[in-house]
Amino acid sequence: MMPTSASSHWALAEEALAAFSVAPHALGGIWVRSSPGPVRTLFLELAEDWQLNRIAKRIPLHAQEARLLGGIELTQTLATGKLHWETGLLAQSHGGVITLTMAERVQRQTIAHLCSALDTGNLRLAREGLSQTVPAAFGVIALDEGLEGEQPQTALTERLGLRVDLSSLSVHDALPSDIDSARLLNAQANWTSVTLSDDLTEALAVTTLALGIESPRAMVIASRLMKILAAINDRSAATEADLERAVIMSLAHRATRLPELPPEDDDNEASEPEPQEAQSEEPESPSNNEQSEVTPPLDAVIESAIAHIPAGLLASLRQGHQPRGKSSAGGKSGSQQRHKQRGRPVGTEPGDPRRGSRLNLMATLRAAAPWQTLRRRQANPGQQGQLLIKPSDFRTTRFRHQRESTTLFVVDASGSAAMHRMAEAKGAVELLLADCYSRRDSVALIAFRGDKAELLLPPTRSLVRAKKALAALPGGGGTPLAHAVELTTVLSEQIMRDGATPTAVFLTDGVANIARDGTPGRQRAKEEAMAAAKQFRALNSRALVIDASPRAQEKARELAAALGGRYLAMPQADAQGLRNMVRSAEAVN
């Protein structure tokens, strides 16, 4: 096993960076989880030192699509009357490295372009009068400052071969290493010819299966990483040590389950001393009968992988949960940022760009083009050869202003009627999702019971994910209403930050009996719930309280008033009715 002290942790991060610097595009990239600070600065300085004279670009959060992919060069085009194309950031970075700041907040569109370039090494363009494929093979350094539970979208992290976590390190841990540019250059020249034995390849395949890493891409990247690590250490063949480190750097954080380790060696030794036997006890490794004698000690590799699984992930794996990070996290997928002048372009219209709308150059040129011959005839001699554009030619881009809405179900899963209500809420969630393709809506679900509320389904538009999350719904126990309202407030805030409009739909009778600290007590529970509701009200967000109890409850009405929302009694709540009610509530507000 690797020692896990802080300085060796740094050494590992450094080695990962070295491997990345040898072949950025082959490894996809490096995911750096750390808040900004001296350690990260040190790490990035080192990254710069090891760039081996590559191009380095930085993509800010708000980078526009036109800048990423390239577009019309305004000044030149207008001056010469000929189309001039400006290369985008992605194509400019060919052969180099892109640093992505605040990767956890990058828009989905940007991620999609990065991913397609990472996959193919090319950029396929079909926009604004140009169709072509340009080379864009680069590596990505993704700087992730996410808080707990926030991380870059899975589509991106899946393609980044390496992950380092610097958050627990201090500058004192950062000891200088013996890796230098000369060694890296050497490795760069040689890594592709490093050999990978069949046993190691098989060991890698077995390890990914044991850790529940399904994606073949992760596996292929890890195999490249093994070769690169061997090359850095001046070896012509990859070894077990390379496998072990490749697993730590590239695979441990992708684990979706904990392998059941075979019994300890001393149990085994008495009966079967051969290493193969130890391996055949691996779960899901049906085809290792044709193994040669020199099987690497897989247990050690898997054990050290487990030791390097990030702590939070490990805990949730231990509890048998599917890690939440597996879905694109941060509750961000499904919602895109929306601004008055940004968002989804839906065409162009004649307009005056000075009023704040965005000029669409292509459309403007198209509008002006047919008139050029005529206008030249009438123009002053001095203007010959120039492009003659009149204000009436101006075309501006229309954006869809409608904001995306997120329906947030907060379901009371306590007590006896819970199962029924949960089933209906679940049905309503799926019905809402089923017709949300045309509306750009997402749905989230919070359930509360026992002593706390829990976010069961982060905002999503995917029916597949919703079904997975809703498959096992808990029910029964007390009513921790205060915590539920608090969680709703936090999530609503987050949704608003992401540019969508939340609507909270509470399904409860409003009778709280568990206080914020998890202890029973009606009076205190109620007071705290009302206090939490006032905080929610301050958000000025839509709320709907649906009372599904057989007789209308005064308490639910009070809750609705405190939340600043509407109250609806619905003794016979069914999924279809709930859906309609939510829809009409969203339309009214």
């Binding site: 009068g129 589509a155 390849t201 073949p216 899901e284 292509m362």
Partner: protein, 342 residues
């Protein structure tokens, strides 16, 4: 740019490969939708298919790949206009596989006014878009569920009518645009618009291989390919050309495959029992079945062929009940089983 990874070297993923082959044999089956986890080789397979496809004759210098063997009525306007001149020159080209990248703008997809010519010569000329280039070939959309709505709208109409009508910037153009729509995506990224879903004839779900052997094979093949793409491709050349011949022969044979009445009945009652909407399901079942029979060098469509293609043809056509836990696949399997018993 490196040559694409060979189609025949793709490990496992039989369903996906079969669906693409069927679409290559009979382009009339409609599109292929491939949904699945990331990194399962969806885009690799489609790019690989491009180099496997046989060549087709086209009218030389026609922007729309007009077919010289068709009567001129089916040709584009420019080819129809000079029908009085001498017989047109023909050329052979590979069946086009056109990428519709994410972020494509509407003018590039449907075509638009040729700006350069308009600015310089002051003439109104049409610059054909991706739909024109994809005519008689394949149009591939990666991350199809992330496609912008206004592009989807443009596609829906053209895919249904086989003709692209452009009315913009003073242009009035119509040209044939019949293509096989191939879409791939990850179901976790979101749902597909039902209308778009309906345009796909076949749909396959891909998943990652779970056995050590094929996973080892994936690493090995990929490693060999990356080390020396050229010799890797050379190594697979024989298999590739065998597969290409198989497609070519099947394309010739598919029109001759006969359909017995009992198979027709089988297909009809299968669709009836599953409650699929309209006749599209049945027709696609038969077409896909015949393409499969042709790929297997047979001249007679059998119920077994229908059974093999039933999941990929019907999976996405079942009326979806969001409250139903069991997936479409198990429903199809159940009905197929019950039909076997009776």
């Amino acid at each position: 740019m490196a040559a694409p990874y060979p189609f025949t070297a793709i490990v496992a993923q039989q369903d996906m490969k079969l669906a693409l082959l069927i679409a290559a044999v009979d382009q009339g089956v409609g599109g292929v939708l491939i949904m699945g986890d990331r990194g399962t080789g969806k885009s690799t397979a489609i790019r690989a298919l491009a180099s496997l496809l046989p060549k087709i004759p086209v009218i030389a210098n026609c922007a729309y790949n007009c077919d010289p063997e068709r009567p001129p009525a089916g040709h584009c306007e420019s080819c129809q206009h000079d029908k009085k001149s001498a017989p047109k020159k023909t050329a052979t080209v590979g069946i086009p596989v056109v990428d519709l990248p994410l972020g494509a703008t509407e003018d590039r997809v449907i075509g638009a006014l040729d700006i350069e010519r308009a600015l310089h010569a002051g003439e109104k000329a049409f610059e054909p878009g991706l739909l024109a280039r994809a005519h008689r070939g394949f149009l591939y959309i990666d991350e199809v569920n992330l496609l912008e709505d206004h592009i989807v709208d443009a596609l829906l109409d053209v895919a249904a009518s086989g003709e692209n009508v452009v009315e913009r910037e003073g242009l009035s153009i119509r040209h044939p645009a019949r293509f096989v729509l191939v879409g791939s995506g990850n179901p976790e990224e979101g749902e597909l618009r039902p209308q778009l879903l309906d345009r796909f004839g076949l749909s396959v779900d891909v998943s990652t291989p779970q056995d050590v052997k094929s996973r080892v094979e994936i690493i090995r093949q990929r490693d060999r390919y990356e080390q020396d793409p050229e010799s890797f491709i050379k190594q697979w050349r024989r298999k590739e050309s065998a597969q290409r011949r198989r497609i070519e022969q099947a394309r010739d044979r598919v029109g001759l495959v006969s359909t017995p009445d009992e198979v027709l009945e089988f297909a009809a009652s299968l669709c009836l029992q599953l409650g699929t909407d309209g006749l599209r399901g049945e027709l696609t079942l038969l077409r896909a079945g015949r393409a499969l029979a042709a790929l297997n060098k047979k001249d007679l469509l059998t119920c077994a062929d229908i059974r093999s293609v039933a999941p990929m043809v019907l999976r996405h056509r079942l009326r979806r009940d969001p409250l139903d836990e069991a997936g479409s696949d198990s429903r199809i399997a159940r009905v197929l089983e019950s039909m076997e018993a009776s």
